[in-house]
């Protein structure tokens, strides 16, 4: 199951690379950006720098002489003194793909908002939902509860008043026998993941045994 999922991911990945190549070829924007002194430099000593940009020209034409020809006001003020003006210019050819940038940024924003919403869900809604479930399992054996409350004490000690209740619940919930439906399986997986994360958190933040 997991493997098929991964295979799909991989083919998507290769597709994405292909698509990128394709998009890159079709929608590329290019520019030739020249940083030059102001045209009056030919006559005097003024050194204000100006940027001149010419879009949609091939890379090999990105040279000061050609840019002077193509920018009307520059052509007017520099005139035939191109040979004096141009050594002080620096021209760079750059290209980009606005679609790629757009898609990438939107994907990033989507992932971020998903993570934020999920985090809020885990912090606020989830404890409420699991608490309702726990009411039925009050009469669990005492050892476990003791252990759990121990852990909770520890966590509160370390974190102050952080939201840790939700992190201790999974173990208790998992013990309740439940019918094997898809929803439950997903839920179980979530609980397992949550306990893993909690273990990681203990290693990193409480015991300081890793990544310090």
């Amino acid at each position: 199951m997991c493997k098929i999922y991964l295979y799909i991911c991989c083919s998507l990945l290769i597709l994405a690379v292909n698509l990128l190549e394709h998009v890159n070829a079709s929608e590329e924007e290019s520019r030739c950006k020249c940083v030059c002194p102001s045209p009056t430099i030919v006559n005097g000593t003024e050194t204000n720098k100006t940027v001149y940009t010419v879009t949609k020209i091939p890379a090999e034409e990105c040279k000061c002489g050609i840019v002077v020809e193509m920018v009307p006001e520059l052509h007017a003020s520099v005139g035939d003194k191109v040979n004096e003006f141009c050594p002080r210019c620096e021209c760079k050819f750059e290209s980009r793909n606005p679609t790629t940038i757009k898609v990438v940024i939107i994907i990033i924003i989507c992932i971020l908002s998903f993570l934020l919403i999920y985090m809020l869900f885990l912090l606020c809604l989830d404890p409420l939902m699991t608490k309702r479930g726990i009411r039925y399992s009050q009469q669990q054996n005492e050892e476990v509860n003791l252990h759990d409350s121990d852990v909770r004490d520890l966590d509160i000690d370390f974190y102050g008043v952080d939201n840790n209740e939700n992190l201790d619940e999974p173990e208790r919930v998992c013990r309740r026998p439940r019918p094997d439906t898809v929803l439950n399986r997903v839920g179980n997986q979530k609980e397992r993941w949550k306990s893993q994360v909690q273990e990681q958190r203990r290693n990193v933040f409480d015991r300081h045994s890793m990544l310090n």
């Binding site: 991989c10 990033i108 993570l115």
Partner: protein, 678 residues
Amino acid sequence: MEEHEPLLDVMSELATSASAFQRLSTTNGPAAAAAAAAATRQMSDDEIIDVSLASVGGGSGGSGGAQAEPPGSDNESDFGAHSKSYGTYNASSEDTDLPLGVGQYEDFHTIDWLRDIARDRLRHRHIVKKKKESCWDSLKGWHDAWSGWMCVLIVGCAAGLTAGVIDIGANWMFDIKNGICPSQFYFSREQCCWDSNSTFVQQDCPEWQTWPNVFGATDAHGVWYYLLQYFMYVFWSVFVGLLAVTLVRQFAPYACGSGIPEIKTILSGFIIRGYLGKWTYVIKSVTMMMAVSAGLSLGKEGPMVHMACCIGNIISYLFPKYGKNEAKKREILSAASAAGVAVAFGAPIGGVLFSLEEVSYYFPLKTLWRSFFCALVATFVLRSINPFGTSHLVMFYIDYNSPWFFFELIPFIILGVFGGLVGAFFIKANIHWCKYRKASKLGLYPTAEVLAITLITAVISFPNVYTRINTSELIAELFQQCGPEDSTDLCDYNRNFTNVNHGSESAESGHGVTRALWQLSLALVFKLLITIFTFGIKVPAGLFIPSMAIGAIAGRMLGVAMEQLAFHNPEWFIFKDMCNRNEACITPGIYAMVGAAAMLGGVTRMTVSLVVIMFELTGGIQYIVPIMAAVMTSKWVGDAVLKEGIYDAHIYLNGYPFLDSKLEFTHTTIAADVMRPR
């Protein structure tokens, strides 16, 4: 009998000389590694027997068969002997602890290299034997043979793609602190001003709206404007920093830090469950961008190695040959870490060498080629995304070709000494601080710590223009030569603009340069101090970029000093030959490059890979010798002051079971003495 020889060889070598250990880890990798495993794990007796039993089977493979199966292995008796030894081995191990599944090892255990290699050889033999039986089986055999290359191909693609996304995203997120592009919100500042013509260099183009503009402040020199900008800068930094640390804490605590010490430990055969998982990958990629955007003094290059290794781990589950065999998986991880450096620095060869020199533990030729291929694919994919628009993979590319002179080796070596000393100081201070954090109450408030560091960094770095800008941009600017078109403070020389052909002549420094040097020296001190406190907080934090920035600042300052010395004293005998008045003879940009390499060398203690990374990074192939000289000096000086690099220091600090192959053994007794006391 033949097959027992290598083992005896190994044993006697191990016994007689101490340095044999080191040799072993390069030649007979698995054997040495297993010995290492035995040493670190303090195995119980029967486990040791297990290992030696496995060496009987696997030892012969270590010498010949690990790289390539001997084609004429149809020697029946030999084959039978092999399979018999495997058979007994398997029988003995299967009933102890080999449920032949994914969860073969428990969390925080050391893997048994020999057992895994032996298992793989058994599997391989099985496939080779079945290959002749049917068409399907032979197809399976082919799949098995190429699955390693296929795996690294996919890893390379994914690493390149992720790096491209991170590069674009980090640029955008950093510029959000300054303002926004209202027409196309997804553009960074540079992209927003793409086709705007005739704008002054220092000002923004009309399309780009800074936050004060958005809020209605128009006078770009007013106090109100400045304060508003300051506030937005600090506010956004703290906000993003808080977001990053919360995400890390909530979803994947293992995503914090640089990751290279842990990757080193994992590659040396340690199991850390979840360290290379899906969540770590996603959270690390996202929070990496945010940490850079928060303006913290850290880089995203180190975490990219971790990110690539996560990809390697996830993809390796597609191929049971690698996913179910921890020893084999480490081959893929080595290749993945090479791809990580390759995309972080645009340095494919440097990545391979980095994997070889710094992170990998067991690195046979086969893995070298796979790493090479993986780095190639990753770089290619990143290049086709073209995140910076310049058709270079990083922003540090230099476009000058100025010569350097023999005499200049002296300042380069001085930079090397500087790098070594400051690097050692940095390591010592950082380790002290981390120890303090671990022991004191400070460690109980990771979120508050991140917030405090972010706040301090943002508040102090905004007033100084060299700390306000993105650290990568700062390094790029320091590496550059001052052309006639540059008008930054750093390039404010009193040049005579009437003579067109003398655009790049040496000239007296103007007030701008003096001011820039002041600001740079403040930036140097600030960066050095804040990085000590930053490395180790609970967000993804790489060390390459900040240490390069520190070195580049120092180098540039020394370079400007040398330049002015040469300009004012052209009659000195050292300058007489190399400089004539009409052309620049000392390029401060080269000093910045050398300084960056030296500092990085002092902190990480890398040599070959660092030099290759530096020249691939900058494209300055003619500056290899200066960089080599500086890096070597910095390593000597650094090693004299403090033995270990920052990654090793962090490994020891955390107490990971890592047996360093660089260690030298001081014992003179041989094994025979121990066995039969004379």
